[in-house]
């Protein structure tokens, strides 16, 4: 598949040194970037260190953020399989994240990049991704719709703004035809169908692809695929965590006699005041 450098890309100029060289060597290959984050497992018990400022990772199992893995990464791999090109997985995180990064290679990414820093905030992570992507000339930058730990849904929009690219959030469908993509985006109570030319940033939601379990061959080849470490760039934080707290426990369930639904209605009206 030959993807021409459309007019949108011409405006995508930076004083970057490697921009020209890089795009020259890959002139006719689609370049896809998938940003993956590592989150506590969905069943993890959430607790915080004694100062209340930091998640307590002791004994917690970590996974690739489900939206990044199931939808963003798999769709990028599918596009590469049908259209050619390459899929790069990128994680901002410490060396301990490499198990998660290797999993993305096992699922199908061709190579991976780890920006060696603690992912301290959405703003920080977005800045790192943007500065890396700026000189790499990706056609599509994929992310998951949000992370399941901090639930911010902020990074994609920030990256898009740093790079002055269109951003399509919560996309549940992505088809590519030449230089033009057709996407469906989840909106309140429905979907929006839209078209956009490469390059762009997209956050993936359920529907875009089906989860893939890495096979043995994938796991074996993942070990030898390139995983490059990159140093972070400086970023000034403007929001800081004051503290995390656990929500108050529920008072306990009030069981209602299954024979008496009038009583449940009365409770919902008089006691809970919700109907």
């Amino acid at each position: 598949m030959y993807v021409s450098l459309g007019p949108a890309k011409v405006g995508f100029t930076f004083p970057g040194i490697s921009y020209l060289n890089h795009s020259f060597s890959n002139l006719f290959k689609m370049k896809l970037l998938v940003c993956i984050s590592q989150t506590p497992d969905t069943t993890a018990k959430v607790s915080f260190k004694s100062d209340g400022k930091e998640f307590d990772a002791a004994g917690v199992q970590f996974i690739m953020n489900p939206y990044d893995e199931w939808y963003a990464l798999v769709r990028a791999c599918e596009l590469r399989e049908t259209l050619g090109g390459s899929v790069t997985a990128l994680n901002v995180g410490p060396a301990t994240n490499e198990t998660t990064i290797r999993k993305s290679l096992a699922i199908g990414a061709d190579d991976a990049v780890r920006i060696n820093a603690d992912p301290q905030s959405a703003g920080f992570v977005a800045k790192q991704i943007a500065e890396y992507a700026r000189i790499q000339n990706f056609d599509i930058i994929f992310l998951g719709k949000e992370t399941i730990d901090y639930n911010g849904s902020e990074v994609g929009a920030m990256v898009a703004e740093y790079l002055d690219l269109p951003y399509i959030s919560y996309a549940s469908k992505l088809e590519l035809n030449g230089n033009t993509a057709t996407l469906e985006r989840d909106i309140e109570g429905g979907v929006e169908v839209l078209e956009v030319d490469l390059p762009f940033v997209v956050s993936a939601a359920k529907g875009m692809a089906e989860q893939r379990i890495p096979n043995m061959r994938g796991i074996m080849t993942a070990r030898t695929k390139p995983l490059v470490e990159v140093a972070p760039v400086a970023y000034e934080e403007s929001a800081k965590t004051v503290q995390f707290t656990l929500p108050p426990a529920k008072a306990g369930v009030k069981l209602v006699d299954p024979a008496d639904m009038d009583e449940l209605v009365r409770l919902l009206h008089e006691e809970a005041k919700v109907i």
């Binding site: 069943t43 959430v46 639930n151 849904s153 929001a239 995390f244 209602v256």
Partner: protein, 319 residues
């Protein structure tokens, strides 16, 4: 000044916009300043935002804004924020707001907290806000100390307060800069979208078969509720995927969540545990959902749900 970007999907201001303006007004009161609302494109009832506390309502009437593009919206909101000297920008934590908030924070060099669910507290020049994190399993409190601050407001977190009067709309201009071509918007009219719904009736695998959903829909109709489902139900295409709630579906916080034949797995609870009141109907008294419930009924849903519906109809007729 607190600037509120009041979104108007398909030309109409809805609850999300009224909530955001109410929140903006209350924040402005805390800061001793005014609240100004901005609408984009063709908007039917923009002046009505005065009722919820906007002292001025600005509109960029360019029809290009009738189709959503985060790039164009962020540029327009940022331009107005800078021109009008906004120190806080508020938007809804909706599909629109989530696409715009991050862009705005970069443009305005502003600290961002998305999905806030209560009013800020003022700490000198900084603001402290709270939001739900770890899929509802914890609350995070953050402090923003940049000169301009961006906050996106979780749906159903504040009640719209109609205390003022409608104002006349002032026209402002900004050049749209988007590159997205919206082809079609497909929405289900007549139902309240899940994130906005105040009452949600949700059902799980205990329903046994998609053909059995009539009793759930009847109950939802009686209550004026929106229907939802657990993940396996959506995965097996018993129900449309936009009904899927939970950690990997939509996170909601309605006033009343009725769970029918749902076991209450931790990933399901993660999306619904911020609901004000939870009612669980399940035949298994050991189902984990009862631990997260306010009211529980242990029994066969095929027997209970139709009778609950009858009792509700009786109640509705009398009230």
């Amino acid at each position: 000044m607190v600037l509120v970007f009041a979104e108007s999907p398909r030309g109409t201001l809805k609850k999300a916009a009224f909530e955001a303006v109410t929140y903006g007004k209350k924040t402005a009161d805390l800061l001793g300043t005014t609240c100004v609302a901005l609408t984009l494109g063709t908007v039917k009832n923009a002046g009505e935002l005065g009722v919820y506390g906007a002292s001025r309502v600005l509109n960029i009437s360019d029809g290009t804004f009738d189709h959503f593009d985060s790039q164009a919206v962020a540029a327009a909101v940022a331009t107005v924020a800078q021109k009008e000297g906004a120190t806080v920008v508020v938007l809804s934590h909706s599909s629109t707001g989530k696409s715009v908030a991050g862009r705005l924070s970069v443009r305005l060099n502003a600290g961002l907290v998305s999905g806030v669910n209560s009013l800020p507290t003022v700490q000198g020049a900084a603001l402290r806000v709270k939001k739900s994190v770890f899929s509802g399993k914890a609350v995070g409190e953050y402090e923003i100390d940049s000169a301009v601050k961006v906050l996106s407001l979780m749906g159903n977190a504040v009640k719209p307060v109609a205390g003022g009067a409608a104002v006349s709309v002032e026209n402002v201009t900004a050049t749209p800069t988007g590159r997205i071509r919206v082809k079609e918007v497909k929405t289900q009219e007549g139902t309240v979208p899940l994130p906005e719904a105040e009452i949600v009736v949700s059902a799980g695998r205990g329903m046994k078969d998609p053909a059995n959903w009539g009793i759930v829909e009847d109950l939802a109709n009686t209550l004026g509720a929106t229907t939802a489902c657990s993940r396996p139900v959506a995965d097996s295409h018993w129900r449309p995927h936009h009904e899927h709630v939970g950690q990997t579906g939509i996170a909601i916080r309605p006033n009343l969540y009725i769970a029918i034949g749902i076991s209450g797995a931790i990933q399901h609870l993660a999306g619904v545990n911020n609901s004000k009141v939870i009612v669980v109907i399940n035949k298994d008294p050991e189902a984990p959902f009862f631990k997260a419930a306010d009211y529980g009924v242990v029994g066969d849903l095929f027997d209970i749900v139709p009778r609950l519906n009858e009792s509700l109809k009786k109640f509705k007729a009398a009230h």
